[in-house]
Amino acid sequence: MLHPFPHQRESGQPIVELKNVTAGYEGQAVLSEVNLTIMPGDFVGFLGPSGSGKTTLLRTILGATRVFSGDAQVNGKRVDRRRSLAGYVPQLETIDWNFPVTVGEVVMMGHTRGNPLFPWHRQADWRTARATMERLGIADLEDRHIRQLSGGQQQRAFLARALVSNPSLLLLDEPTRGVDIKTRDEVMHLLHELNHQGVAIAMTTHEINPVAAHLPWLVCIKGQIVAEGPPSQVISPEILHLTYGAEMPVIEYEGMTLVAESPHHFGRNGNRKASANGNGRAAEPGTGHGHSHHGEAAGHGHPVGAHGVSGAD
């Protein structure tokens, strides 16, 4: 079922190249000194606690943040919001589900860039939209309102919008959030397929285990890049502690690297000695968010179940 496959980085011109980039918003740098390269055919996952700058990193690649210093390039050109050609799938929580649009209308938004001065779309645009919907299995939902879809179908609709213009780079903000395990697996497999067809993909996530199992390359973020590499190297108690500020036991199980994401649980029941640095419960350093992002599999200490239930928040 789960198949980490060997990661072969292609050579040639990188799609994304960030060199010593310090970026953020008006008067506030969120990311500092970031170096990152995404090559054609890459499939990268961004991990990090709430407020660590995952979304900001995606926005920087799109050219929608302020770059205070360093050089941010996409396809060899400096990032620019008005010229960004990457496909972007926003976090679905930000969508206004009461808005009167159908799946077809959402997908056609992906063609806004073409002939901007004509209110109607070209025949060719309709054809690519239909083809993309077919490919993602949502063709029969074209006239449905976005509210009348399942979580997985919603994700596909917005994925289709990002894909109609045939981008070479796809950026997704937490595509696996708030859906059940089966849907999450479907989404991951879909992304794998796209990746195999040559689309470079970068996605953010809060769920360590699924990306550790599916993705060839992970980047841990906390205001800067803490670590980067294949899951087997990145998923270690030391790096996770540096990233999340919490103790997370790592378990090898049938060739998979799994994280038992329940430090609070261990601490409270006294099943484990208090950690050496007394830091076992420290979490959410410097975030303004009240909710816990350790929501996944909270309370399930069992290693196999550990990558199970998601979205406790």
Partner: protein
């Protein structure tokens, strides 16, 4: 009862109200979907302030001591007033949008401060000089005063607004739906905001004499939410909202003649009634389709289950 259609001023008023209703209905779709319902209310107050201020400038500064001050409503001064009011409304609308986008303060607070301040300025000027023409019509709406020039203004604004919404349809749709993501997909959001502010200010100025400051917000909000109850499609909502606005403008003014009540109030009461009837109709339809107590069906009643706006 007298046949009202025999009177030219009534026919003028009826046409003006129908056009203004349609205009507010069209523009209101974007206002409501961007969750800026309050903006119509605020801008109407602001534009009122702008009208008073430009009148003050026109008569007391530009034409101080000349004969222009005594020219009637259709004179040169009127054009200055129109331009002044639209400019003022546009600048306020733009300021509100910018402040909101830059997240300095929330939209509601921005609207509250900017527009009430400008309204208060207008009132202060009126009370200071006590020499202006009757502003009651602009506060509460009055069709008896609709001149041919007013009609032409409304017609021009209506045509221009339709043209803008047609040409810029995709961009308006996207930036209403996801203002930020639209930018990533090549929508010039700043330009879109600016065009919308201009169209909105012109709409309010054109409708001010017919509907009145205090009633304009309802004319902008009620038609779109009524239309929203009936459709799940942006395009259809724009058309339905325009038609609803026109219908309510016509029906409201006619009712104001029959019942002998204020025009603005009549239009608002008429459209509120229409909204309630539509709401009951869509609920009943959902109810009949799935039977009493059918909870599982509720989510799927596409039409009756439409949006709740805040």
């Amino acid at each position: 009862m007298l046949d009202p259609f025999g009177y030219e001023f009534f026919v003028n008023g009826l046409i003006a109200a129908t056009l203004a209703g349609a205009l507010c209905g069209l523009v209101g779709v974007y206002v409501v979907l961007r969750h800026m319902s309050y903006i119509g209310h605020g801008l109407a107050h602001s534009v009122f302030g702008g009208a008073v201020i430009s009148q003050f400038v026109v008569f007391n500064v530009i034409f101080a001591g000349t004969a222009v001050g005594s020219i009637g409503r259709d004179g040169l001064g009127e054009t200055y007033l129109l331009v002044g009011a639209i400019t003022w409304g546009f600048l306020t609308a733009l300021a509100i949008t910018l402040i909101t986008r830059l997240r300095i303060i929330g939209a509601d607070a921005a609207i509250g401060i900017i527009t009430t301040a400008s309204f208060a300025l207008g009132i202060a000027l009126i009370s200071y000089t006590r020499s202006f023409r009757d502003f009651e019509a602009q506060l509460f709406g009055n069709i008896l005063g609709v001149s041919t020039a007013d009609l032409v203004t409304i017609l021009v604004v209506t045509v221009v607004t339709w043209a803008v919404f047609l040409v810029w349809y995709k961009q308006f749709l996207f930036s209403a739906f996801e203002p930020e993501v639209a930018g990533f997909y090549g929508v010039p959001t700043w330009l879109t905001d600016t065009m919308f502010s201009l169209v909105l200010a012109a709409t309010i100025v054109a409708s001010l004499d017919v509907l009145g400051v205090t009633m304009i917000a309802a004319a902008i909000v009620i038609p779109p939410i009524t239309a929203r109850l009936l459709t799940n499609r942006f395009r259809t909502m724009m058309i339905l909202s325009t038609v609803t606005g026109a219908f309510c403008g016509f029906g409201g003014v006619y009712a104001s003649w029959v019942l002998d009540i204020s025009t603005g109030a009549s239009v608002v009461i008429f459209s509120s009634g229409f909204f309630v009837v539509t709401l009951i109709y869509t609920r009943l339809k959902g109810f009949l389709a799935f039977g009493p107590g059918s909870r599982s069906g509720r989510g799927r009643v596409s039409q009756g289950q439409a949006a709740v706006f805040d």
